[in-house]
Symmetry: C2
Subunit: 365 residues, 2 copies
């Protein structure tokens, strides 16, 4: 058990027989030093096992070399992967990441940002319940701290790394419409606390309107329903005429299928299901999940790059939305004619389209 309690630059200087300023210059290559003293300092540092105190440094340089990261939850792989992307991109930049989760709670968001700020992070990357109404975020902004949003649509003074949920949802609506689906629904897990969910519904709704189709139903559920197939089934049972459902994320889409099975509904014959996110496991399923494919990791990486750029004093430029792609799957098919109440469109899908939607339909931007 060596004494080991921190070796400071003062110790090094003393051991090398020079002043601390000289030692600092040598160790940082930040100024002149004779070959002689340079040698002595380096040897002393090596022998003493010296390493800089980032706290001392932070105090003097006014930069903590950390970035704060706030996401709703790491239990959701989408956010976990985004954080992973941020982390990966930050690696080697000298910046470390301080992380915090809100559990989709707006008040926790505020507390977390406040905490991060009090830790004097040099920058922030966040996904929040309501970034547009966060006083703490505004405060951070006023302080001149670089801020990057993830998953959110572009917002006034902030840069954001995102996928165009509205557009993506329109693509799903188009898929449904092209197959002849008329009775559709959007199944939302956290509608009130997720602008992603809201934007997806908006885009879905908008495209249905534009095509003269009935408005899609909005089915909001909570955690409990999402995790208990029987409860979810009970909810689905209230919408017997549905022929297609757009779930606000892939896990939900998988849960819907479970619930449908409980009701004796076949997927996709009785009910088409499309998810969102494009999680990897979706393609491994017996019935590969049709979904919108995105890359949370790329999002995190882009966010981190923008952040580093800002940190270096670069200009504040909003990059374009990240690409997404419709991924075809076995959970999407023509509507069941027996299920519809009117049957219009169902019996006569546009003949210029294949029954099975093609893969990798499109990339936006």
């Amino acid at each position: 058990m060596s004494k080991s309690s921190s070796i400071t630059i003062k110790d090094v200087a003393q051991s090398a027989g020079c002043g601390v300023a000289t030692a600092s210059r040598v160790l940082n290559n930040s100024g002149p030093a004779s070959a002689d003293v340079r040698e002595r300092v380096e040897r002393a540092a090596r022998e003493l096992g010296f390493s800089f105190s980032s706290i001392g440094r932070a105090l003097q340089s006014r930069r903590s070399m950390t970035v704060g990261c706030l996401v709703p939850s790491l239990a959701n792989p989408v956010f976990a992967e985004a954080v992973q992307g941020v982390q990966a991109e930050l690696l080697g930049s000298g910046y470390q990441m301080l992380i915090s989760c809100s559990n989709y709670d707006g008040a926790a968001d505020e507390a977390a940002i406040e905490m991060l700020l009090s830790k004097e992070t040099d920058a922030l990357v966040a996904t929040m319940v309501a970034p547009d109404r966060s006083p703490t975020l505004r405060l951070a902004q006023k302080r001149g701290i670089p801020i990057l949003l993830m998953f959110h649509d572009p917002l006034d003074g902030f840069i954001t790394s995102y996928v165009d949920n509205f557009d993506a949802a329109k693509v799903v609506a188009r898929q449904f419409a092209d197959l002849g689906h008329r009775r559709t629904a959007f199944l939302a897990l956290r509608f009130t606390t997720s602008d992603r969910s809201r934007n997806r519904y908006a885009g879905f709704h908008s495209e249905c309107r534009a095509r003269g189709l009935p408005d899609p139903a909005l089915i909001e559920i909570g955690e409990a329903e999402a995790n208990q197939p029987d409860r979810l089934a009970a909810i689905l049972a209230q919408h017997p005429k549905l022929t297609a459902i757009f779930a606000s994320n892939d896990f939900l889409a998988i849960a819907v299928q479970k619930a449908a099975r409980l009701l004796g509904w076949r997927v996709p014959q009785d009910l088409s299901v499309v998810g969102f996110d494009g999680i990897e496991v979706g393609r491994l399923l017996e019935k590969p999940l049709a979904t919108i494919e995105t890359s949370p990791e790329a999002m995190g990486r882009q966010a981190a790059r923008s952040l580093l750029n800002l940190l270096q004093g670069g200009p504040s430029i909003q990059p374009p939305a990240l690409p997404f792609a419709f991924r075809a799957g076995a959970t999407l098919a023509l509507p069941n004619p027996e299920k519809g109440d009117d049957g219009r469109g169902a019996t006569q899908p546009p003949s210029d389209l294949p029954a099975e939607p093609q893969a990798q339909t499109r990339m936006n931007r």
Copy 2:
């Protein structure tokens, strides 16, 4: 745009017309102060929007109030959930979490710990490639920094939060054996860099031996094979006599089923599959996945609690292994008599056991 650049306690003291020491005492409730000055200081702090600089504090108190966290990857939900657990438990303790990922690379592990150490984290919680052979971790230990391992088996001077992989794997072996499986295999994704994987194989192997069954095959694969069903299928095809396979994690178990389908093998009729981890989505599948259920979040929570305890100067006590449970599923059944080369045992499973394994078989410890 107010000037806003940080308000220090000096500003507060000046505004309140008192010395910094007094202001510090008031704001920290750490000493005497007249009601009068107390009032003035508090008002000044409020009006100026003062908040402590944790850097200044850290420098003076020699504690950064951060804990470093190192995991292989956040893209693996098991680790992400564990981190989430750590985070959740740390919430409100005043400690913040600095996070780092190694991508299952031992060298990156060293670099990450070094980085964390240089950031002067007050404690460490980590899952590494080889914690037993990490010089940097030893160094941290020597410095007296509280260290908590996650997922690893108990190790010399460290406390660890873990599930007994060896025991859990034995349970899987028992399930296979009870059904009459003789030709089994362990499918390992990262055998060389994961002691979890190795311990699972060891337990599986050990139990097979103990029962006088043939040694299970060890099939090691890489990322590429795991992600490409056709390549995985090619590998599976080399083991045509297998009747049951134990995958080192649930995703792999799902991938195996995909590969099996590609080969025309039915699950579970031609091949039984059991996974590990107990990811939520496993129960929602058309064929619910048989697996060992664990709770990474609980692991993270336990680790954080132990850490906080250590940080408060508490004694270093190794808690017992966390519980696990075998989760029955539709991917496990009797072996196909036509597949075996000898058929012994397959045609005559123990008659005192139901064909369908019972749910929630057991909890250990």
